[in-house]
Symmetry: C2
Subunit: 563 residues, 2 copies
């Protein structure tokens, strides 16, 4: 039916890391990167630290007795559930740095007692009923790509067990209304299936988060995901016209209308609720024609603030790029070192002389910043927008690098997560964090967080690399995305990581940023989300939780603390 890889399918995806088993990042193809990392991180990249074999992983024993499992089997049938080691393992946690370090070590402190794959909304309803009766926690599982602990198989002290509710069988496109440009789609569908189904009718959702290949519509909605082209298409909360959530004892269904004034917006209550109220089973989303033309290009700016000004001017002048992505000087340098070795010596000579000329023009390494900007739409509008963007870049001293950097970024845009596994093999920490701020606050926040990350890494006794980019631009501001690398502190890998993450997260909030623009809250961000929202919103959230999930079985410990 489609070319997607089921994220929870242990035979096809890595239980020990990111994505498909047959894909990876080979350092051998990137000699520039190797040299750069050796110099900056002061490591020979010699040590190897590989994931343990699955046989060496001891998981907590499954706690559901025969009677309980029989109840589950009656609802979903023999093929609708499983409890073998691989299934439990791939549903035990997500894909955060913490998760990957733990699983590679063979540390799986929590695992679902069973995994259930309901084939219909009625089965979801009955599974929740069964779980409620027996006080079993239910962890909704879409693609399992959470980087904040959102799918961790966590139960509370009163729970007799935990099941992971994998939505993979709810994966159909139910209806496409071409006239109204909406599609009603089951929530367990993976990104590629969704796009292939819509593309066959010349339509697209336009939602391409970095996890696109392994994440689901329901997961996107649960976490308020942002696609890499969200500046044009909107974040997922802008794309949801209506949705259905099955919660213990009921179904919350919103009306399929473009807008309304009938009380608070329940779409926006469920979007971002991370499974703590119920299971999102389907959504009606806003769709568009597949763009006839995509034009992506790259520009150099002499420094980060100039690039930021150009991004702001794009949005405030009414331009709607699909993507604007401005790397800071560190990320620009990293990106140049990341490029694979070119076998073509002529190309290398031309490149070298180009780089030399650029330096003479004031685009100096250590200061210059790469912007990728792309437009999508019909031929005429795309070309006209491109011209206006180019003019704005000119005004802020941007130097056009042509279409090459844009094409390269576009082509590799889902591949970067594979780098983490390779670096972990070499005992190198790499993680990311992201936030958003109004334009007035973008540069101060960027400076503060970058400094704090550098300081925190130094505090763990090693040199680090800290880089960032601005992306997902709005007329009022932008998101900021940070990436940091350091040699791991042997035996203290998680403590080292958390010390850095904690310092940076405190810094985000104290400088007016949000703890997350699109990764979500889960377990890892809960403390800061609670601080960001304040006691009133948290009291409201608890009230909502109590109304919709009175037994407290839905994804306990996420966003809200364990009772």
């Amino acid at each position: 039916m489609d070319s997607t890889v089921l994220a929870g399918d242990g035979a096809a995806v890595k239980w020990w890391g990111w994505g498909a088993r047959d894909k990876g990042f080979r350092l051998e193809d990137h000699p520039g990167l190797v040299a750069y990392l050796k110099a900056r991180l002061e490591t020979g990249l010699q040590e190897e630290s590989l994931p343990v074999s699955i046989d060496r992983i001891s998981m907590p024993p499954a706690r559901l007795d025969r009677h309980l499992l029989e109840g589950l089997r009656k609802i979903v049938g023999d093929s609708g559930w499983g409890a073998d080691k691989l299934q439990r393992l791939v549903h035990s946690m997500g894909k955060s740095y913490r998760d990957t370090v733990r699983i590679r070590r063979g540390e799986v402190p929590l695992a679902p007692d069973a995994v259930v794959y309901p084939g219909s909304e009625e089965e979801v309803r009955r599974v929740l009923e069964w779980a409620g009766e027996h006080e079993i926690a239910v962890v909704p599982f879409g693609g399992g790509t959470s980087v904040v602990g959102g799918v961790e198989a966590l139960g509370g002290p009163r729970h007799r067990g935990v099941v992971s509710l994998d939505a993979r069988r709810l994966c159909r496109i139910l209806a496409v209304d071409e006239l109204s440009r909406t599609a009603t789609i089951q929530a367990g569908i993976l990104g590629p299936s969704l796009e292939e189904g819509l593309n066959r009718k010349g339509l697209t959702l336009g939602h391409f988060p970095q996890s696109f290949q392994y994440s689901t519509l329901g997961g996107w909605i649960a976490t308020r995901s942002a696609g890499q082209q969200s500046t044009l298409y909107g974040k997922i909360e802008d794309l949801v016209l209506s949705l259905r959530m099955i919660h213990p004892g009921g179904v919350l269904d919103t009306l399929k209308v473009p807008a309304r004034a009938a009380g608070p917006d329940w779409n926006q209550v469920v979007t971002g609720s991370e499974g703590i109220f119920g299971v999102i089973s389907e959504a009606t989303v806003r769709i568009r024609p597949v763009p006839v033309r995509k034009r992506y290009g790259g520009f150099f700016f002499r420094d980060f603030p100039k690039g930021v000004e150009a991004c702001r001017e794009f949005l405030q002048s009414g331009l709607v790029p699909a993507t604007v992505r401005l790397s800071d000087a560190q990320e620009t340098e990293f990106g140049m070192n990341l490029r694979p070795r070119s076998g073509n010596w002529k190309k290398q000579v031309v490149e070298h002389s180009g780089v030399w000329a650029l330096e003479k023009l004031g685009y100096r390494p250590g200061r210059r910043c790469l912007m990728i900007v792309g437009f999508e739409g019909d031929e005429a509008a795309t070309e006209s927008a491109w011209k206006r963007a180019r003019k704005i870049c000119d005004d802020f001293g941007g130097f056009s690098l042509g279409g090459g950097p844009g094409r390269m970024w576009y082509q590799d845009r889902f591949e970067h997560p594979y780098l983490r596994d390779t670096l972990l093999d070499k005992r190198v920490l790499i993680d990311t964090l992201e936030t958003a701020a109004t334009w007035t606050n973008v540069t101060p926040l960027y400076e503060a967080v970058r400094q704090k990350l550098e300081e925190a890494i130094r505090g763990t006794g090693v040199p680090g690399i800290v880089m960032a980019h601005l992306s997902h631009c709005y007329a009022t501001g932008s998101s900021l995305y940070f990436i940091f690398l350091a040699r791991q502190t042997p035996g203290q890998e998680l403590e080292q990581w958390w010390a850095i993450k904690e310092a940076a997260s405190d810094c985000l909030l104290s400088h007016g940023g949000t703890i997350s623009h699109h990764h979500g809250v889960g377990i890892d961000h809960a403390r800061w989300a609670q601080q960001e929202h304040g006691p009133s919103a948290m009291r409201g959230l608890s009230g909502l939780k109590l109304s919709l999930d009175p037994g407290g079985i839905m994804n306990p410990g996420k966003i809200l603390p364990l009772d």
Copy 2:
């Protein structure tokens, strides 16, 4: 400081009807309308039924004793509250048909026991604390223009009294961040003050509901209001970047960031909450430069479906008009009869020959539909959009009427509510209702509701006029706005009106429409809002209410039923 008229100021505004005391609609200036109404409603328009004088109104006695009032006075000072007849009267209800009929008769079954005008957030907080201690209901009051019973001075059986909390003194623009295009503004500010303040810096919010002159930022947010230019600027829920709501026992404050993924969106919980959780005290809104150019024009379409197709094509082709407003054949005819008498006979002759020529081209009365479309922005973008819009109109058989109809609509756009008072003087019922639907459903819903309204009016024993327009367009659908007129059934004015409204509201819901696109819920729509949301959302809303307003003092009986 500004040119606004305070809506709750009984000396300046009509307590018995719409708007400023010195404004009104004079039938004498509209002979065409008089003839049209006489023929269609079978009335001589002879009978007069004027509002009673204020002396003849007997209101329920104020229930707050000296001790309680002394507590209030300690919080807000002598000038911060009042309980005289006029103040209590103008805060007793809103501006719905039901309200106006009752108040003109001198029927004021409920009135606040006192009106309080807090001068700071701290005073709001203390008033809520005082009200909680003494079990007094608090009805937040902005401009008092609700047409759904949203500000009715209703208390529950346990309440010892009701105070109307008038936000007029919270009316300052606190900060304008030109770089981020945001402004932080107190919620009690009236439309004209807000725009004048921003305009002085070359900026605008662009939110112009029909009530603009008499309604407030806080009221817009509480009711999910839509401005007449919402297609460009967005509904109020799109304009709110962050807000502050003071509720009993706390303050809910959202972060000033363009977007985030840290749990559900509290802006969208408070927006549309109609004061049932607390008092919105300020908001940070998205602002824009004042448009350099506004171009509005009119087109005739041969029938409604052709016009609807053109509207859809505007939005789906990526055009962003400020306003698109397509009248059906009945409203088109009504509008032509509404135009004031022209003293210029030459102009009349030209008009008549123009109308004759149009009929020959197939734009026949009873079928032809007027579209007003307008663009706002910089010179070049507006002109280019106008050309594209004109081409789309051509494609669907639209006939350009030039700029005249657009200018006339724009100039009169806040005046139409005055017509109601004049018609009530002549014993003619006029009311409106509004909804929204996806494009697939727009025409079927329109037909169903129009037929139901006609049938329901006939059911009350009189002929009626039913007309509608489509406005506030989206890529996925549009809102629909209905206006209906009939001779009043003497002595049964409210029963007649409710029979019609009830039938139409049932019809809206059974045909997939929402009970409100921008008027809100209040008391009048509560039954249908509950039906539209279903038991799960209503359970969640009750849970939220209990968390944020555990004593149940905030605007009881609105959206949710009285305990």
